[in-house]
């Protein structure tokens, strides 16, 4: 058993980064995730593991520092919250276009614009559909506990390097700010220069020896036919992710007649809503997507065969619900897919969720 601690989600992100052998963090303060960089600066990992931590002049600069460091084959990350992620979207597009591995954490707050500092899930579409310009995808992991804030850092890096693609942890202000018991991961060594060359020497800017051609990290290709080839390669990679990386947690889905689909903080609310509904005699289960891209559409398609309907519960105006509908449609099954959400930093209550289930799905059936 690893070391047990009572920690905030944001603090755990920092601790997990140090422990998983992360080489560098570049960030800019923004509520509600500022504790990530504060914790790193307090911990001074440069004295311990050699990890570099730098406060950039802006989110724009931070993501470009990540781009540069990732281009040299290093394991690097940044974190921010919604408005900051919008600023980083240019850089994320370049990182995806140059096929570089890295980790971006979004501890979401309510929008649009400066919005609010309270938790939200309204950046779902931005995270899973691309966000920046061009056809690209990130691997998106959605933690719903402080423990998963720990576990997903290492997982996100593993997937990023497996696919040479940016990974995102899409959390929200509640997961970032709340304290829970967490079992911290064991320390992993940072990669040596030799290991970096072994893993990434075929593409990274590790310095050109006479034994190989120069490496050029770029997303630019003016020849349209070649650029289309590049895009085909990206799309093939995204299809591979969809085939191999769909992750989810199914809670009480075996005998369920209705399914809540919810991630992150909403999933915690829905877990209680499942209990309340079952007490009322309605057999409800919870399908919690862990990967938002690739979306766990296979399991949703399978569940669709046996259930009477789905309720997508989100802290947004209804974004993931589109993917739930698509998954049901792709399975060739007709089932009602309803939505319930709160916006602007409001977390729905379990009672509200059950009420929404009754009004939007049960009523129609009766």
């Amino acid at each position: 058993m690893g070391e047990l601690r009572l920690m905030k989600g944001n603090e755990v992100l920092a601790e997990a980064a140090i422990r998983c052998g992360c080489d560098g963090y570049f960030g800019y303060p923004i509520t509600p995730q500022s504790e990530v960089m504060e914790t790193l600066m307090e911990r001074q990992p440069w004295n311990e593991t050699g990890m570099v931590v730098l406060q950039a002049e802006s989110e724009v600069a931070a993501i470009n520092m990540v781009y540069g460091a990732a281009g040299s084959g290093k394991k690097v990350m940044t974190s921010s919250s919604s408005p900051g992620i919008s600023l980083m979207s240019e850089g994320i597009s370049y990182i995806a276009g140059a096929e570089l591995p890295c980790l971006v954490v979004n501890v979401q707050r309510g929008g649009p614009g400066l919005g609010t500092i309270q938790p939200s899930q309204a950046d779902y579409s931005q995270a899973v559909k691309g966000g920046g310009h061009g056809d690209y995808k990130m691997i998106v992991l959605a933690p719903s506990s402080v423990q998963e804030m720990n576990d997903f850092v290492d997982l996100a890096f593993e997937l990023a390097f497996k696919y040479r693609n940016p990974s995102m942890i899409l959390a929200d202000g509640a997961i970032g700010q709340m304290m829970e018991k967490v079992e911290l991961s064991d320390y992993k060594e940072r990669w040596s220069d030799e290991e970096v060359i072994e893993k990434s020497g075929s593409w990274a800017t590790t310095g050109k020896p006479s034994s190989r051609e120069r490496n050029v990290v770029t997303s630019l290709e003016l020849d349209s036919l070649k650029m289309e080839e590049n895009n085909n390669r990206f799309q093939e990679k995204y299809r591979r992710m969809e085939a191999e990386e769909q992750r989810y947690e199914a809670i009480q889905c075996d005998d369920a007649e209705y399914i809540f689909v919810a991630f992150g903080t909403s999933a915690r609310v829905c877990q209680k809503a499942v209990e309340i509904a079952r007490e009322k005699g309605v057999k409800v289960g919870l399908l919690r997507p862990i990967t938002l891209f690739p979306f766990p559409k296979t399991i949703i398609g399978e569940l669709a065969k046996d259930v009477k309907g789905f309720l997508s519960v989100e802290m947004s105006a209804g974004q993931m619900v589109e993917d739930v509908k698509q998954a049901v449609f792709d399975a060739g099954i007709i089932r009602p897919v309803a939505f319930f959400g709160r916006m602007g930093g409001i977390i729905p209550t379990p009672g509200e969720v059950v009420e929404a289930l009754e009004q939007k799905l049960l009523k129609e059936k009766r």
């Binding site: 080489d23 560098g24 570049f26 570099v52 730098l54 950039a56 002049e57 802006s58 724009v60 600069a61 931070a62 470009n64 520092m65 990540v66 781009y67 540069g68 460091a69 990732a70 281009g71 040299s72 290093k74 690097v76 240019e90 850089g91 370049y94 140059a98 800017t205 590790t206 310095g207 050109k208 020896p209 006479s210 120069r214 490496n215 050029v216 990290v217 770029t218 997303s219 630019l220």
Partner: protein, 262 residues
């Protein structure tokens, strides 16, 4: 002496740098980029640092710099080269990292990144090509366009009331404690080319000695954008740009306290 004697290897006085790749450059005849590329290739080759060099290419005419010099490169988004270079050098402090940027890239869209990288004293060399115009997009006004200069977005000449004043980035970064060597050069004559190369080599050496940021501006021509012949462009540059952007070293703290970083 006959031709066959002149071309004997022992009589060779000048050769193309091995780091300069045999590919046709896309630069216009008369453009300063080609000359500065050659100087960078020569400097890196002569200093024997090809294996530890990482270049950061900008957006602009020199976006394809990575096609011409045989080192590892990363292509940055417009203006972000100093941030990209920061990421590389912070995690690879023993590498020689340089950015190569035009005036639109460095002085306009990337003004924040260059100021903060220089202010942190990132251990890198910045090569700043200032020709007072956006070359690649077709000759629009740059922040460094001098007053009354005609461009495609200042068809009646740059008006400071409307467009502000030509930005002296090199003077600005010379004020920052993070920079150690800040100089303004040109490359329109054989003598200027030699001086420019010496400046680049000094900037590289400063980085190898971990003295912080070195910054070499090269006042350049864009004869296509300026709609002049190369010869006219050189003359116009000397007569109009040099008075506003005087050549020479603005800062040389080589003998002073090294700017500490890392």
């Amino acid at each position: 002496m006959e031709t066959k004697d002149i071309i004997k290897p022992e009589n060779l006085v000048y050769g193309k740098s091995e780091l300069l790749i045999d590919t046709i450059m896309h630069y216009c005849p008369g453009c300063t980029h080609g000359v500065v590329h050659k100087l960078i290739a020569e400097a890196i080759g002569e200093m024997g640092i090809q294996e530890k060099t990482i270049g950061i290419a900008p957006v602009g005419c020199s976006v394809f710099a990575y096609n011409y010099i045989d080192i590892d490169w990363q292509e940055a988004a417009h203006g972000r080269a100093p941030a990209v270079a920061t990421g590389v050098v912070r995690l690879n402090p023993d590498k020689f990292v340089f950015t190569y940027q035009g005036d639109g890239d460095l002085a306009s869209i990337g003004a924040a990144e260059i100021i903060h990288a220089c202010n942190r004293g990132e251990n890198m060399l910045v090569i700043f090509i200032n020709n007072g115009i956006y070359g690649m997009t077709g000759g629009q006004m740059a922040p460094t366009t001098i007053e009354n200069m005609v461009t495609s977005t200042t068809p009646c000449g740059r008006d400071s009331e409307l467009n502000g004043y030509p930005l002296k980035m090199t003077d600005l970064v010379a004020q920052l404690p993070g920079t150690s060597y800040v100089t303004r050069q040109s490359a329109q004559t054989a003598a200027a080319v030699r001086k420019c190369k010496r400046a680049l080599k000094k900037g590289i050496q400063n980085v190898l000695d971990k003295k912080g940021t070195s910054f070499v501006e090269v006042i350049s021509t864009c004869n296509s954008g300026w709609k002049m012949t190369p010869v006219q462009a050189n003359k116009w540059m000397e007569e109009n740009m040099f008075p506003y952007y005087p050549l020479g070293d603005l800062k040389d703290s080589e003998k002073g306290e090294p700017v500490s970083k890392n």
